[in-house]
Subunit: 470 residues, 2 copies
């Protein structure tokens, strides 16, 4: 679907790269943190997604000849372009596992590489991780309320252009069962399904005839759309006739689909008609502007809906269009680095770091991740990152390191998992999280703290930076 | 960047296609309308975008061998797959010009093709037009308030994955000047520009040294980011030193960039410092969560900002994640078609149609588009689509037909324009629209009406459909 060249980047990455190249700094070692500041949808957690996709792309990322010609016209210099011709990313990456439950302000991923290489991959890394994490988180919220119902991604037509391709992938990570998107199904090995459109029925003079032709022409997983003219007077009765005809051929109608009107009412009435006709095996699918809140409400009303097709609100991450993930320098040229900001909340964390998840004796999260220096093995006390008088003793907890080495010398170190496996992993991680963090309204805030050593290192850098400004 | 195969579609399109194929209906003539129901951002108009991009893609759309293998596994039948192997779109398309000002509920584009072909292209058409129209409309709103300021798209890192590539294109259509997105710049011939990141400055022990290296290593269009440590005490003074050094080498600093804090205050103070140093030619660029409302406010405060870098809010179309464009059957198998809905506002318009824009003697829009049957040349009276007692006499107006034939037998009929040309066309069309339709708060509602003949045709179909349900 996509051929990523290394020009899938912001021009300033290449401007900075040329300067590093010309000033003899390109091979300086650097560490960048990827993290986000705000959980989308005012939720209590996010589901990290896009990693395995990204690692594959990064390991193949190159500049081709037409890229280099274009960059020459942009004023980049010949010796630098020669460097770019041989560019490949040869760095190391530590990361949370794809599908893990993640929280703001702490590193979800760390890149350790030559500074020029780390800079060139910044944009594609942010672009793919920010978006897939946004969508996997949305999908996870929908899965939380949907129980065992089948969840299908129907969003491609209103997705943000080819972003929909990655949305289909991330939806599975977050707990969806399938997609209508054929090319995503093919390339990411996602179950593909689909029903029929109103236009198909309109193209016939008669709804019954349309249903009949459809069931004969595509009997596998047949779903009939019943709301083109009148759901209960026409659509469902006609679907029942066709279901009976299918039975006589030894086939089974999979489902009917409702796409307008009051879905709770129509689902209940349709269920009655189907059951009265002895078609209790025929499922009910519903679509039309669904999201986690509408599905929650439908199920609370005991609407007998078995399959939810979720479109626009899933694939665009409505109402949040973006995850605010950033990529910040923590170390370079053998020194810890920091960005002092106008706002204390935007001050970055220096040094190579590890993140520890606190768990009780039953393997349940207690609701805290602590960030330490990479060489720390256990954090005894964690401090609030911005309120120095707040701290918490961690001695009694099991401490699980979250960042694992996933790339070395530009090669993926982890075995490729299927999306199904990533999704199952995600659900198992989510099950370790207490319910208070999963509710939609004012979820409990997961604590993120820093170790004493990290706090002291940061303080030292802030002081020396302020000193210089005097 | 993207290789679109015809599997960039929803599976149900192919299910319906197989049925049309098997039931001998695939070559039946069909007409589909593309239109949207709601203007994004509660605005008074939308800018149509994506058309020329779409037409190029559609004219090349094919199923390849690996697609066919995948579809075979999905249960599609051999004779149908054989048809798909030779598939190409050979239909006709009528459309508004890309860049035109468009309004809800009336056809923006009409596809006239064999029903099987029209169905197979539905998803990609919706996907590319919905999104690019959403973003071009956002860009146009930003251009409206930004006057002659330079507008740059900085959004790729938080775009919805590769959707950002099309966002960069649509931003230019809507009036932006350039992008940071290198691959979009290369493939769509968009001016590319970029500045520097905080990480570059952090990677040095000293801000001045960082600026100096950057200006030497990449003097072309050099922009220095001045807010890493302290904008007025450190960033701007250091930028001034480097600007003077550049002068001594016969070079010129293009701009400084502000990316945090109160942009109005910092722009004014920075301007003073630059001017006092005799650097009145050095521009001020600003970024950080900008959108049309923030830019409007900054300019109302007379913040001396010359260049605006707009990111997330532009490329994701915040706060609207999607345009609600639909593709509805209007005619097939030699008959007009209609979809009756639970809501009167969703009843579709049958028949092949033309849209006429009403203009006064000065070429100014009077604020009304009338939809007639395709063979009508002039609409004398237009009727409110849903309130039959409301009508408007149109005899005194010039009537400009909006839908032009842009594709015949699957080949593009129009000359490819540069994005700059499309953008200029868009601005000229927008200038024909009275200001009342362009304001942000409660814009005047543009009237859309239907001709008497179209109204009567629709009535007839509604009646006969209701008749059948009795």
């Amino acid at each position: 679907m996509n051929n990523f060249s290394a020009t899938y980047t912001d021009q300033y990455q290449l401007s900075m790269a040329q300067v590093y190249f010309k000033k003899g700094q390109k091979d300086h070692n650097a560490i960048f943190d990827y993290y986000f500041r705000k959980i989308p949808y005012d939720g209590g957690y996010a589901i990290f997604s896009g990693l395995e996709n990204l690692l594959e792309i990064i390991s193949e990322l190159r500049f081709n000849e037409s890229d280099l010609e274009f960059l020459k016209k942009q004023g980049f210099e010949d010796d630098f372009l020669k460097y770019l011709r041989d560019f490949r990313f040869r760095g190391r990456i530590y990361s949370a596992s794809e599908g893990d439950v993640v929280f703001p302000t702490r590193p979800v991923l760390q890149v350790e590489a030559k500074i020029i290489e780390a800079q060139i991959i910044e944009t594609i890394l942010l672009n793919l991780l920010n978006f897939q994490t946004l969508i996997a988180t949305k999908a996870s919220r929908i899965r939380l309320v949907a129980g065992d119902s089948t969840l299908l991604d129907f969003g491609l037509r209103r997705a943000q252009a080819t972003g929909g391709y990655y949305a289909s992938r991330a939806a599975i990570v977050g707990g969806f069962d399938g997609t209508s998107n054929v090319v995503a199904g093919k390339n990411f090995d996602i179950p593909v399904s689909g029903t029929m459109a109103h236009s198909f029925i309109q193209s016939y003079d008669d709804e019954l005839e349309a249903f009949r032709d459809f069931a004969e022409g595509r009997p596998d997983g047949c779903v009939l759309l019943v709301d083109t003219y009148n759901t209960l007077k026409s659509g469902v009765p006609n679907a029942i006739k066709v279901a009976k005809e299918m039975e006589s051929r030894g086939e089974k109608l999979l489902a009917i689909r409702l796409d307008s009107g009051d879905l709770s009412y129509f689902a209940k009435e349709s269920r009655k008609l189907l059951d009265e006709a002895g078609l209790d095996y025929v499922k009910i699918a519903a679509s039309n502007q669904l999201d986690e809140h509408v599905i929650k409400s439908l199920l609370e009303q005991q609407a007998p809906i078995d399959i939810f097709g979720v479109g626009t609100n899933l694939v665009t991450g409505d109402p949040d269009g973006a995850l605010d993930g950033v990529y910040k320098l923590a170390f370079s040229s053998d020194k810890p680095r920091i960005k002092i900001s106008e706002s204390i909340f935007k001050v970055t964390l220096p040094h190579k770091k590890q993140v520890f998840r606190m768990k009780d004796d039953h393997g349940k999260c207690i609701g805290a991740d602590a960030i330490g220096l990479f060489e720390e093995n256990k954090i005894t006390e964690m401090f609030h990152p911005f309120e120095p008088y707040k701290s918490m003793n961690l001695e009694k907890f099991h401490q699980e390191p979250i960042l694992k080495k996933v790339m070395e010398n530009g090669e993926m170190l982890i075995d490729k998992r299927s999306l199904k496996e990533i999704s199952e992993y995600s659900l198992s991680r989510l099950s370790e999280l207490p319910i208070e963090y999963k509710r939609f309204n004012n979820p409990h805030i997961y604590k993120i703290g820093i170790s004493e050593r990290l706090r002291d290192e940061r303080e030292k850098l802030i002081r020396s930076s302020k000193q210089k400004l005097k």
